[in-house]
């Protein structure tokens, strides 16, 4: 991978400063990652009101729990994404239980992760570089692996639900997701 990718993926961690109550660092953290998290929550929840509410919960949690972040174990953005995704999926599941989701049955299965609504402001050059690096890593996954990963990651489906949805044996789905994740992990190591 290129040197550009090295610089793009490794940006300095802001969370240790946030853990010490540095509001400036927290603002920077928000400006740097809120659009990624909001896109993720829109993808999971398909509803701007819910996505904004969960985004707010995510950043409040980041502020109160920043001291639990360990930069040796991962990046700021991965930590924030994990909080946002987990809360987003919880919200999605509680909506499913309430039966609010009208389009659940007919939801389109797609290997594309792209969300149609583009960010209107000028993208930060670093983020743009990072995204193209990420995109090329994901493009290397076969479509079948991307679809299985997307159903688990964005829709919170279990292995059995994915097998059922795609009409494939459970073993096939499990192997497919494991291979996809192994490839992504190797790719990530390559550009670290």
């Amino acid at each position: 991978m290129t040197a550009a990718m090295n610089t793009s993926v490794q940006t300095s961690s802001l969370l240790p400063a946030v853990a010490h109550g540095d509001m400036g660092a927290f603002e920077q953290l928000y400006d740097r990652h809120s659009s990624t998290l909001y896109a993720l929550l829109l993808r999971i929840l398909s509803n701007p009101d819910d996505a904004q509410e969960v985004l707010q919960e995510t950043f409040v949690k980041a502020w109160t729990n920043a001291k639990m972040f360990d930069s040796v174990r991962g990046s700021d953005v991965a930590w924030l994404i994990s909080i946002a995704r987990s809360r987003g999926i919880d919200r999605l599941r509680s909506r499913r239980i309430r039966g609010d989701r009208e389009d659940e049955a007919g939801r389109e299965i797609s290997g594309s992760f792209g969300f149609v609504e583009k960010r209107t402001g000028a993208d930060d050059a670093i983020q743009s570089e990072e995204r193209s690096a990420v995109r090329s890593a994901l493009a290397e996954l076969p479509e079948s692996q991307r679809v299985a990963l997307a159903l688990a990651y964005f829709e919170g489906l279990s292995q059995s639900e994915i097998a059922e949805r795609l009409g494939e044996p459970l073993g096939t789905i499990k192997t497919r997701m494991q291979l996809g994740m192994k490839k992504l992990r190797e790719r990530l190591k390559a550009f670290r």
């Binding site: 540095d22 809120s34 829109l42 985004l55 992760f113 059995s160 073993g171 192994k182």
Partner: protein, 260 residues
């Protein structure tokens, strides 16, 4: 007891929230005592974040930013001068505290280590217990497959690369599940896995039904859920593949094979 490779495979799924509850709790109990697997789990979590980072960013409304910053308790923001003052006070207090209570601190620490070690033992045992429960459930399901009135038996025979190998498939068409027992397969190398393939009448490419390793005596068993309809299964075959399995067979050296 599961191997590190098996924990690694669960960690990959756990990072995208797709591990079964039993698998996930066994993994988390294991992580408490295994730094290598913990590192692997962290790396998978970082890799999973790529799925989100691939999305085109969307700016949230400006008002949301204001709302979030208002909701943060600004009282928690520590002024640098105040923090310095507090830390000096705390340092002095800590010295006095340590002088007076040093011996007690030491015993507390020792007790805490004991408690932590017992907690780790409890977590490990709880993980093992859950794993055994899961295995018990799996065995019960397998027994049900074997004992069902509708169960069909299919024999897979050794092929050119392993003529003495064989396998028996107990197929329960109603439940769309099967249990397969393998005998006399050559031991697989550490970097290889056996992979069972379903050859389908309605699809040109074989489908993976799972991966497995064999015991030193060449035995193994695997249960398959969510099988295709019995009429769609043309046959079954086993190949030796890179560790962790592959999407499609990389060779046609079948170790055992048979048709339905």
């Amino acid at each position: 007891m599961m191997s590190h490779d098996q924990y690694d495979a669960i960690a990959a799924l756990d990072a995208i929230g797709a591990a079964d509850a039993d698998e996930a709790s066994a993994l988390h109990a294991h992580l408490a005592s295994c730094p290598d697997c913990r590192r692997a789990r962290d790396e998978y979590a970082e890799a999973a974040s790529l799925l989100a980072r691939d999305l085109d960013p969307v700016d949230p409304p400006r008002q949301l930013r204001d709302r979030i910053f208002k909701s943060i308790d600004r009282g928690n923001v520590v002024d640098a001068r105040e923090r310095f003052g507090i830390s000096r006070w705390w340092m002095a207090a800590a010295v006095v505290f340590l002088a007076l209570w040093g011996w007690r601190e030491l015993s507390v620490r020792m007790m805490r280590e004991k408690v932590n070690s017992r907690d780790a033992d409890i977590r490990r045992l709880a993980g093992q217990n859950q794993l055994l429960t899961a295995r018990n459930e799996k065995l019960s399901a397998e027994m049900a497959s074997l004992a069902s009135r509708d169960t069909r038996t299919i024999a897979l025979t050794g092929q050119q690369v392993s003529p003495s190998a064989s396998a028996k498939v107990f197929l329960e068409p109603q439940q769309r599940r099967a249990v397969v027992f393998f005998y006399n397969l050559p031991p697989n190398a550490a970097d290889k896995s056996y992979q069972l393939w379903i050859l389908r009448a309605d699809q040109p490419k074989p489908q993976s039904a799972g991966i497995f390793d064999v015991t030193p005596s060449g035995a193994a068993s695997i249960s398959i859920e969510n099988l295709p309809l019995a009429t769609e299964i043309k046959g079954l075959a086993v190949t030796l593949e890179p560790k962790g399995g592959v999407e499609q067979p990389t060779n046609t050296n079948f170790f055992v094979a048979g048709s339905t």
